[in-house]
């Protein structure tokens, strides 16, 4: 059986054995109680979605008889609804937040008592959904621990052979995914019968930025019209502060780049801006030079909100910065030399680094030596490591006794290795210095 088939069979097997209750059981007032619990735990503001019918149901099922608790929950829910639907400024009093926490606890207790194992089953279901999605829609498969567990459950006796097949399928699947070019560039041409009238506060922002309404492209006008004026104004107030430490980034954006200013206003947020600013602090002082580079060259790292025109890159920036900091990389130097590293898809970057780590590479060394390839074409590193493996090159030696990783950065490694063997014999593949020297000769000959 091929790896993909084994993986699909393993997925079906888990569906049959691990998930043994009906979704219908969990629905009250058209809401899935487990999903409701996870959204409230994630953000207490989501308590706004809890209907009176759900509160009644829980009270009745749990035998709760407490009028004050009931009243507080309804009042808290109504306040949060006001916040969500009418942008009211709401800071819940502690008595309300405590009651919401109590509700979470009661709901969790109810689910646990009536559907034992539900938490684990729901986690499994979530992981299965991600895995099936990755297999069917060409996305990276990254949760190897989960894959191992379901392949083992499928047929423990054949586990070793099956895992070999599955991993070989996953490796080629992931390499294909990494190479696919996304060609869904957005369309920027929108036609209006009549240009939209913008809110007065938005016009005031444009005026302060020195932007002429009549010169704005239609897609930006349309986005400004759709945006919440109050939120735009709040973000503008943060951006125009004097100090970068306080989120004041407006004066650091190149003067002639009005589009970046508007795009950050539209699709960033106070939190996103502060997140980036704070990530550039060393001993409380911000590296303003790097902040300027981000704003001038990769301003899309400030984009947090989904929109039709620009892909949000905030999460990639945060994850990639974490990788750099965790591995004690001199990130200001790296960002100066290769800002693109910070917008690389972080799942691809993590997958590549984990793959190379498993083959014996030190992450710090590989990032320092290969950050340009990692920023542009990480799959090349995996492909080349696979070529070295095919020719039985000692990877441990390659990664640890080698000051030069040029071999895994070149496009035609297969051909180069054949050239090395032809000129120096197969045993030269054990001599990393000789391989590097022969690579130079090859490049000279093939200019």
């Amino acid at each position: 059986m091929e790896g993909k088939e084994i993986l699909k069979n393993s997925i079906q097997n888990v569906k049959k054995t691990r998930i043994n209750y009906s979704q219908k059981d969990l629905i009250v007032d058209e809401v899935n109680l487990y999903e409701l619990l996870t959204t409230i735990v994630d953000n207490a503001d989501n308590f706004a979605y809890v209907s009176t019918k759900i509160i009644d149901y829980l009270f009745s099922e749990q035998g709760i008889d407490d009028d004050e608790y009931f009243r507080d929950l309804v009042q808290a829910r109504d306040l949060l609804l006001g916040k969500m639907e009418y942008n009211l400024k709401v800071d819940l009093k502690s008595k309300y937040t405590k009651q919401i926490e109590r509700f979470e606890h009661d709901l969790c207790d109810f689910l646990d008592r009536n559907y034992p194992g539900i938490i684990e089953s729901e986690t499994t279901k979530y992981k299965l959904r991600i895995l099936e999605d990755a297999v069917n829609y060409n996305k990276l498969i990254v949760d190897f621990e989960f894959v191992e567990s379901i392949v083992s459950e499928y047929d423990d006796n054949e586990y070793d052979n099956n895992m070999l097949e599955v991993m070989s399928y996953i490796n080629s699947h992931n390499l294909e995914v990494m190479k696919v070019k996304r060609i869904n560039a957005p369309k920027f041409d929108i036609d209006f019968v009549k240009k939209p009238k913008l809110d007065d506060s938005v016009m005031e922002i444009l005026d302060k930025l020195g932007i002429d309404y009549n010169e704005l492209p239609n897609y930006i006008l349309s986005e400004l019209k759709k945006a919440n004026p109050k939120k735009l104004y709040d973000t503008f107030c943060l951006m125009k502060k004097n100090k970068a430490e306080d989120g004041g980034i407006l004066h650091l954006i190149p003067k002639n780049n009005q589009l970046t200013k508007l795009v950050i206003l539209l699709y960033s947020s106070d939190n996103a801006i502060m997140n980036i600013v704070d990530s550039l602090k060393v001993n409380g002082v911000i590296n303003v030079g790097i902040l300027k580079i981000l704003l001038a060259v990769i301003p899309n790292v400030f984009i947090e909100k989904n929109n039709e025109y620009f892909k949000p890159k905030l999460d990639d920036f945060k994850n990639n910065m974490k990788i750099l900091k965790d591995n004690e990389i001199n990130y200001p130097a790296l960002i100066n030399k290769s800002p693109m590293f910070m917008i690389m898809d972080s799942t691809i970057l993590e997958y590549t680094l984990n793959y190379l780590k498993k083959e014996g590479a030190s992450l710090k060394k590989i990032i320092n030596k290969c950050y340009k390839v990692l920023a542009v074409d990480p799959s090349l590193l995996i492909e080349n490591v696979n070529v070295l493996k095919k020719f039985n090159v000692d990877l441990n030696k390659f990664f640890n006794e080698n000051g030069n990783y040029s071999l895994i950065k070149v496009k035609d490694l297969n051909e180069i290795i054949n050239y090395i063997i032809k000129n120096n014999g197969e045993e030269s593949l054990n001599d990393i210095d000789l391989m590097n020297a022969t690579l130079k000769e090859y490049l000279k000959e093939n200019k």
């Binding site: 957005p186 780049n257 001038a296 100066n336 030399k337 290769s338 490049l443």
Partner: protein, 99 residues
């Protein structure tokens, strides 16, 4: 979206090629960072690189999505003629030059 790059020697055919083959996030960056990208493209033109720009955008976008000063620093570490030669003939070997 990034039509302005045609002012730096990109032909209509190259432009189509870029829109089909370059990474979408690269195109988005180039749209958002027009003033900085213009400086970089101007610098390539000063080096007499025009036809090669499309290749750089597709194969080495990190040499476009960069500040002009940092690009100059990077290129100053190698022989300029060798750099131009690689861009025109074998752009994938730039990485072995340390670029």
């Amino acid at each position: 979206m990034i039509e302005y790059i045609k002012e730096y020697g990109i032909t209509s055919l190259d432009y189509e090629n870029i829109m089909k083959n370059a990474r979408v996030d690269v195109i988005e960056c180039m749209a958002l960072s027009e003033p900085s990208i213009r400086e970089v493209l101007e610098y390539y033109n000063e080096l007499d690189i025009t036809e090669g720009i499309a290749k750089i955008i597709i194969s080495r976008p990190d040499l476009i999505i960069i500040s002009k000063n940092n690009l100059k620093d990077l290129i100053s570490k190698v022989d300029i003629n060798e750099f131009i030669d690689k861009v025109e003939n074998k752009i994938e070997d730039l990485v072995v030059l340390g670029i």
